[in-house]
Symmetry: C2
Subunit: 221 residues, 2 copies
DNA sequence: AATTTATTTTAGATTTGTCTAAAATTTATA
DNA sequence: TATAAATTTTAGACAAATCTAAAATAAATT
């Protein structure tokens, strides 16, 4: 069994690897992700390396081993299932779920997580639209593209997920009534600043910047 | 905010005080409850004392302060609400719930616990029949007496709670189909060994020893 | 290629929670 | 009441996770 901190390091490394698309992760980026110093990261890296959870070459960064990856993915599964529980059953907003799930994901009981999964109806995606790995660690993939890629007007757009997860961004979207599951229509493109005007289901017209549109993943046609 | 270990000490001390009906708790009993050494207990006692969570007089044991009690009761509330969740929603048996709830009770979010309480329909008792304190820390009391106190035959007996919580005892009761919420009838008293024969709802006849009957709390007439 | 800058590692210290062994104190017993 | 037994505390050590400051190494720049 691993400590909560060890688990958090594995998760952080996995997350960085996903984002960067690279396998070799440097100390500094881990330190940033974990909100700690590079020195602390080096210490922890050595421990995790000795436990064969990651490969470590001095001065040249780390990469997760199969076992390390397995743990990280299992944590992701637990985190996202708890988020669904908090959102669907306890009526937390999709902005609020993350923080509490960060704690719940460390509860150690495989039975718990399998029963929770069943209780929730084996959901495939969390409230942010991120895929929930199954108990074997495999994800459900689906086609989704940034809203900013779409150039066609007057078609129904389905929001599937978001690329960013910081609460200020989520709150902004929430204020605009944009979240996974919602549907809207693009009614105007502005070439000048690449912003777009959307028509929401209840008739509201909202304008979003290119930066925001780029972080919203939608169903392609 | 307090560490998980600090919380567990407060809970242990509260539990011992309840059981013994005394306010002054000695080091040894805390060590036993926590599964650690008396030396470790002394260390922790000092810390908790400095944080004003308990009163400590060297060599003469400890007692919880108002603040210490408040934390212990809040933990009890969280523990028991999670037990209801695990039992009622996830179909854990009443034997299994305790261990997982031990972990869940340390998740820190008051919002979570209030939402969970509402989701569960504001339950007043957990799967073992123990009362769940409300958010102000007050318990629902009800009349309940040990089954061993009853001398009357051929009346409906309602099981409300149990006095012991170790899993071997719970498993034994579960095998006999006795648990809170069940109803049965006493059909025979044996003076010799103080055992009693019960008739369960589905027609089974079971015999329980005096020791077991003493740990079962039932609704008095 | 030499030097500056950025990154990483090491060294040494701190906190939390634990341990064992020994000393101190209280309680029980003769 | 003196001694033995039980309990509690102290002292010193250890592991986990962190920190700061300094040293080592790699990467970037002139």
């Amino acid at each position: 069994m691993y400590t909560e901190t060890e688990e958090n390091y594995l998760k952080a490394i996995y997350k960085i690897a996903q984002k960067q698309g690279e396998s070799s992760i440097n100390t500094k980026s881990i330190a940033e992700e974990m909100g700690t110093s590079a020195a602390s990261v080096t210490d922890m890296i050595k421990r995790l390396s000795e436990k064969s959870l990651l490969q470590y070459e001095k001065y040249y960064g780390v990469s997760l081993t199969k076992e390390g990856q397995k743990i990280a993915v299992h944590l992701l599964r637990k985190h996202r299932l708890w988020e669904v529980f908090l959102h669907d059953k306890l009526n937390f907003t999709w902005v609020e779920v993350h923080e509490v799930a960060e704690q719940l994901e460390h509860v150690k009981s495989d039975l718990l997580i399998e029963k929770l999964d069943a209780f929730l109806g084996h959901p495939k995606f969390d409230p942010h639209g991120d895929p929930i790995p199954n108990s074997n660690g495999s994800f459900t993939f689906r086609n989704q593209i940034p809203l900013s890629n779409i150039r066609e007007k007057n078609i129904r757009i389905h929001v599937l997920a978001v690329k960013q997860h910081d609460s200020s961004f989520l709150k902004h979207l929430d204020d605009l009534k944009i979240k996974p599951g919602e549907v809207f229509e693009i009614i105007q493109f502005t070439d000048y600043d690449k912003s777009m005007k959307l028509l929401t289901k209840n008739g509201d017209q909202i304008v979003i910047t290119h930066k925001v549109a780029d972080a919203i993943l939608v169903r392609p046609q």
